[in-house]
């Protein structure tokens, strides 16, 4: 759609610009919502920075792994260089990297994990929504060909002149809806532990379904599902099992209290 803008003769990729804008707004949102939670402002900033470093590293690492594992792509140094320098990355790799580094910080400095996760969940979805707008601008992560779709004319990441399902905008809208949901929902201290797992559950379900309608074929695929679908399936099963266990424990406790 608009892969680059030109500022003072410099070519700036919209993918990165959207990502940085989303990152800034996500940090702002976390600070605006901080009052309800027991996480100090300095630590909010630090956790976001650690998560950002982990997200970039994880997204690039998994995208490289997918590329190297794909028999259709012959790995070359030039390919690795292009993959590292492009705007692309695998979202789940970024999420895993961000969670790992943020968790390391939270553990090291003894911050309330439940509060931190509940506070930062809407920031994650907001950032991801902007990231998908960046994808839409760049032309990557597009959907399958549909008659009513969006036609790219100068895209470097998608076929030009073909009407395509705007899968990026669908995912962006879903993420913004999740942001609104998690901002409006004000869980009590006892229910805050459900916020991040609920996000993982909802997002993995959405991603699993949307993957069937993606049109970009140069993607990691194993047996019948794509890499992202396998990860989404695993995340959904683990979170579903955790929810079941946790709600059963709460019911059991409530029954004991009522006796």
């Amino acid at each position: 759609m608009l892969p680059f803008i030109y500022v003072f003769g410099l070519t700036v990729p919209m993918y990165w610009l959207a990502g940085l804008t989303g990152g800034g707004l996500a940090a702002l949102l976390a600070h605006l919502r901080r009052g309800r939670y027991s996480v100090p402002g300095t630590d909010v900033t630090h956790i976001i920075l650690f998560a950002a470093v982990g997200a970039v590293a994880g997204a690039k690492l998994l995208s490289l792994l997918v590329m190297l594992a794909n028999p259709a792509i012959l790995p070359t140094w030039r390919g690795v260089y292009l993959e590292l320098t492009s705007g692309g990355g695998v979202f789940y790799g970024g999420l895993i990297g961000a969670v790992l580094l943020a968790y390391a910080y939270i553990r090291k400095y003894k911050i309330d994990l439940t509060d931190a996760a509940a506070l930062l969940t809407p920031s994650v979805t907001l950032f991801h929504g902007f990231g998908r707008i960046g994808c839409f601008m760049a032309g990557c992560c597009y959907g399958e060909s549909v008659s009513w779709g969006i036609v790219y004319e100068h895209s470097v990441g998608s076929p030009n002149g073909v009407p395509l399902l705007p899968a990026q905008l669908i995912e962006a809208a879903f993420n913004f809806a999740l942001t609104a949901l998690f901002c409006l929902w004000k869980p009590s201290a006892g229910k805050r532990k459900f916020v991040f797992p609920l996000y993982l559950l909802l997002y993995s379900a959405e991603r699993f379904i949307l993957e069937f309608f993606r049109g970009d074929d140069i993607r990691g695929k194993f047996l019948v599902f794509t890499t992202s679908q396998w990860i989404a399936l695993a995340v959904f099963c683990v979170c579903g099992a955790w929810f079941r266990k946790s709600t059963a424990e709460i019911r059991k406790k409530e029954n004991l209290d009522n006796l």
């Binding site: 990729p13 990165w16 940085l20 590329m67 292009l82 492009s86 692309g88 470097v156």
Partner: protein, 83 residues
């Protein structure tokens, strides 16, 4: 550690602004600067740590944008859609 964060922050900003074609060095240096800046602030690094952290954030962001812009000039085929 605060001084190290400050130095790395300055180096990443210099790479971003003056040597964008070597921006990957600026990104790596900036990321290390961010991590050192954060740890230093938690250990009472004060103003130097904060200045280093801010410079490292700005340097990393600018280095990423300018370097990738350079890479895009070399080959726009980089956006491979593997996401």
């Amino acid at each position: 550690m605060a001084v190290a964060a400050l130095v790395l922050g300055i180096i990443s900003a210099v790479f971003a602004v003056f040597l964008p074609f070597l921006g990957w060095i600026g990104i790596i240096v900036g990321i290390v600067g961010i991590i050192l800046g954060v740890i230093s602030r938690k250990n009472g690094g004060g103003g130097k740590a904060t200045a280093g952290l801010v410079l490292a954030i700005i340097g990393t962001a600018l280095a990423a944008i300018f370097w990738i812009a350079c890479a895009v000039c070399i080959s726009s085929a980089g956006l491979s859609g593997l996401v």
